[in-house]
């Protein structure tokens, strides 16, 4: 019924229209705001880099909202470097998503005088800004970023100690050095391989050997240092891991070669040694590739703001929330987080506890009632009297609980750990047996052959198999939207036999509640009136009503409309003689009534919707003999619905506190179950951490999720059976890789123990075994993921019944309610 009109800024269809002075059309004021800033600064090239629809919309925050950044206390904590004319700050900008973002943000100096340089780290979604504090304030920079659509996320975590150096730097250096030494030792060893008739002049042989020795010394001392350290640690903790045979092999290689060079004047094994260290470091690098923009170890700090306005001498002064004390009076505005458990003093509190409980419905709090830390005030200003300091609050205390102290959880023994427990004794006893044999046959060669056995059994291929296979699966899954923390987490996933679901926000969708209308049928005109009345409101109920009626929205909003929205008291809307009220009849009542021209037309009811495909997911998991349970923090009102989803023999627990959830998982673990917890929200944080595999569901660009082993978006949940199968398949692949390296070892041990091992043979067989394991691992894991993923791709297409939510609508609506 309406022709399409793309927004000048974000290129999406304009449902409501906002025009600027030159008549260009925008879908919302946020888009218009960004466009105007860019136009005024000759930065419209931005739109040429832009592909498809833009996801950034100007923030509605005011400069005053950022003023707290300029207070000395907070400023000092945020700045990384400070001089009178130069300062450095770094912000996390969650909305960075494309190359146009990089282009625009790196031109900040053009937008704001005093900004000297800005540099983006795309994967971390961070901007690193150098500015002149004499010309521009921190608050102005943050405000500008918000204005152009990149509102910085400033929270308690921004000021906590962070490793400024990239942890990979160290590894890169070692790989570089090992690679350099490996290459040059090869060069120096090559002549000795070709010299089959021993015709080389002896002094030349020595020169080559001394060069190799010097380079190998660097490899052993510098490049291999982490292995020495790790082996020392594991000896100290009396925990036998693969580092021991590595270090053993390395020392024997080095000592034997040193002997060959300086005493026997023979060809050495230094090339094998350097190659071995180089390959191992490469394996480590492959495994270490991680997602820089995701934080799996998030604690409460990333959920809480930096400061709150505290009452000091009748003025509201921004104060770091870590300095807030019991008895302080603070003020919150729309969208602010309750920083600590507090009592409501003044104002109407509509608290959204969605990231505490996963429940998006707002809770009305009366004067004198307790508000819990982590709730978000939606609506007007309120003032609170703090009952507790930040770290005494209920939710924060959860973090200080046992499971959050990582040392209390037993170390997970990986497959390679288990194997090395067998591997080391077996290798040692083989060398003893071989040694005894040669002692009685040719005692002169005994030490030479024992060392040869130890050299050839060095578990290089064994060590590579796990990082290559898990690392590759990790990357392939990440490309499909299943983000797992590290290779160890993936391995833990393959052992899971018990799956625990959280209800709200996990099984049910937070946003897509089904809207039902009961009452008299509505005419076209009435529907259009309702659309006009609700378009301006940011309340979730109004938004879902608007979604339902948005096709009835007139092309242009009539000029003389009256709109008023009072928090908790509904919407009053007047247009051309019509009067509309949308809201609750009684505060406590369920459902929103529609009154048009004094007549009550009907009621809108919201029913929480279960995610698409959950029921078949549960059935599939049951079919695969996984044990299942459900824990919910809510009351029993949804019991019937949940019984229908889970069927029989599944424990369903309602009204669980965060501690109950945690204890439930602990109980199952004591019964030797490997438990996976699927949840969202801070109330699942304890359970997620305690479980053997914590899976966090996140809806908002994966930004807000508690500490976990993996993060996925809600609609990926139905892929769980395939992901579990891939993890199990990965384990089988590793067994295959072990078999391959074992075969090479058997050949190697035979050659070594019969006294035929030569440096040339070692230099060929060792890299060969590593390379075959790498090729096998890469191919195998690719085939594995592809095999299961063809199912997944189909399922996803089926389950995507709801359109992806457009963020811009939400932002624009928020702006309008505030105006």
């Amino acid at each position: 019924m309406s022709h399409k009109l793309p927004c000048q800024h974000c290129n999406s269809d304009c449902v409501t229209k906002v025009y600027n002075e030159s008549g260009e059309v925008f879908c919302c004021t946020g888009c218009k705001q960004v466009y105007e800033i860019l136009q005024n600064n000759n930065l419209c090239d931005y739109y040429r880099f832009q592909e498809g629809t833009s996801k950034v919309v100007g923030s509605s925050k005011l400069l005053d909202d950022y003023r707290y950044l300029d207070t000395e206390n907070i400023r000092k904590q945020l700045l990384r470097f400070q001089q009178s004319d130069k300062a450095n700050v770094s912000f996390y900008l969650p909305t960075i998503h494309c190359s146009a973002c990089v282009w625009l943000l790196e031109r900040l100096p053009q937008l704001q005088q005093g900004v000297l340089q800005s540099k983006i780290d795309f994967l971390r979604k961070e901007v690193d800004i150098w500015f002149n504090p004499a010309q521009v304030q921190l608050s102005e920079i943050a405000f500008l970023l918000g204005q152009v659509g990149y509102e910085p996320k400033i929270d308690l975590e921004s000021v906590s100690e962070k490793a400024s150096k990239n942890p990979n730097r160290d590894l890169y250096l070692r790989i570089g050095v090992a690679g350099f030494c490996f290459g040059n030792i090869m060069l120096a060893s090559f002549p000795t391989y070709l010299d089959t008739q021993n015709s080389m002049e002896p002094y030349l042989m020595d020169v080559f050997s001394y060069v190799s020795f010097a380079l190998a010394l660097v490899v052993v001392v510098y490049a291999a240092a982490p292995y020495w350290k790790a082996a020392f640690m594991s000896l100290k903790m009396r925990h036998l891991d693969l580092n021991i045979p590595i270090v053993l092999g390395m020392s024997v290689l080095f000592l034997r070669s040193t002997y060959e060079v300086f005493i026997a004047h023979q060809a050495s094994y230094f090339d094998t040694l350097a190659g071995f260290v180089f390959f191992m470091l490469l394996g480590k690098w492959f495994q270490q590739k991680s997602y820089d923009n995701l934080r799996f170890d998030r604690d409460y700090k990333s959920f809480f703001p930096l400061s709150a306005r505290k009452k000091i001498n009748d003025k509201w002064i921004p104060t770091p929330i870590t300095q807030l004390q019991k008895g302080d009076e603070i003020q919150l505005q729309h969208g602010d987080l309750v920083p600590a458990d507090a009592v409501l003093q003044e104002g109407i509190a509509q608290i959204d506890y969605s990231f505490v409980t996963g429940e998006s419905e707002r809770v009305q709090v009366n004067k004198g009632d307790l508000l819990y830390a982590g709730g978000r005030q939606m609506g007007g200003k309120i003032s609170l009297l703090l009952e507790k300091a930040l770290n005494q609050s209920y939710l924060i205390k959860l973090w200080q609980e046992v499971p959050f102290q990582s040392s209390n959880k037993p170390l997970y023994a990986t497959l390679t750990d288990k194997i090395s427990k067998i591997f080391v004794p077996v290798v040692l006893s083989i060398s003893v047996i071989v040694g005894i044999y040669w002692y009685f046959n040719e005692v002169d060669r005994m030490w030479e052959i024992i060392s040869a056995v130890l050299i050839i059994t060095c578990p290089c291929a064994l060590l590579l198999s796990s990082p290559i296979i898990w690392g590759n699966i990790l990357r392939l899954l990440a490309a499909k939207g299943i983000l797992i923390k590290d290779t160890q987490a993936l391995e833990q996933l393959s052992d899971i036999d018990f799956i625990v679901f959280d209800k709200t926000g996990t099984l049910t969708e937070v946003q897509n509640a089904i809207l039902q209308y009961e009452g008299a049928p509505l005419s076209e005109e009435e529907k259009s009136l309702i659309a006009m009345a609700t378009v301006q409101s940011g309340h979730p109920m109004s938004r879902s009503i608007f979604e339902k009626f948005k096709t009835y929205m007139p092309e242009k909003m009539p000029e003389d409309v009256f709109f008023e929205e009072r928090v908790g008291a509904g919407i009053h809307f007047n247009v051309a003689r019509h009067y509309i009220f949308i809201g609750k009849k009684e505060r406590s009542e369920n459902g929103t009534i529609i009154v048009i021209d004094g007549k009550e037309k009907g009621v809108f009811l919201q029913e929480r919707k279960i995610r698409t495909g959950i029921k078949s997911l549960i059935n599939t998991l049951k079919g695969l003999h996984y044990k299942i349970a459900m824990l919910s923090g809510d009351g029993v009102q949804d019991e019937k619905m949940m019984e229908a989803v889970f069927g029989e023999n599944v424990p369903l627990k309602f009204a669980c506190s965060p501690y109950d959830k945690l204890n439930f998982i602990r109980e199952k673990q004591e019964k030797n179950h490997k438990v996976m917890m699927i949840g969202d929200g801070l109330n699942d944080a304890g359970a997620l951490k305690q479980s053997d595999f914590g899976l966090a569901i996140s809806e908002q660009n994966l930004q807000f999720s508690p500490a976990s082993h993996a993060i996925i978006e809600g609609n990926n949940l139905v892929k769980m059976p395939e992901v579990l199968a891939i993890a199990k398949g990965g384990k089988k692949l590793i067994y295959g890789a072990l078999l391959i390296s074992l075969l090479y070892n058997v050949v190697g041990i035979y050659v070594a123990s019969s006294g035929m091992l030569s440096p040339l043979f070692a230099a060929i067989i060792m890299p060969l075994s590593s390379v075959s394991v790498v090729i096998y691992g890469m191919l195998g894991s690719n085939i594995l993921v592809k095999k299961y993923y063809s199912h997944i791709a189909r399922d996803i297409a089926d389950s995507l019944t709801f359109a992806p939510q457009k963020t811009s609508t939400k932002f624009s609506l928020d702006i309008k309610t505030q105006v």
Binding site: F49, C98, S99, F122, N166, R169, Y172, L173, L204, V211
Partner: protein, 59 residues
């Protein structure tokens, strides 16, 4: 044949220069972010074009 010793030393020195360059690059942070530069690569060109267009308009 003793010339080969000099050659070895020379080749090692050249290789060391490259190793040094690599170490410097890593230490100065050039390997910290290996993704963003790939997005940045086309940007400057378009900017120059814009400037070129502008100056030609003025003429």
């Amino acid at each position: 044949m003793s010339v080969i010793v000099i050659l070895i030393v020379a080749s090692l020195l050249v290789a060391l220069i490259f190793l040094g360059a690599f170490l410097w690059a890593v230490r100065s942070g050039q390997y910290d972010d290996d993704y963003t530069p790939s997005l940045r690569i086309f940007h400057d060109e378009t900017i120059n074009k814009q400037h070129a267009n502008k100056s030609s308009e003025h003429n």
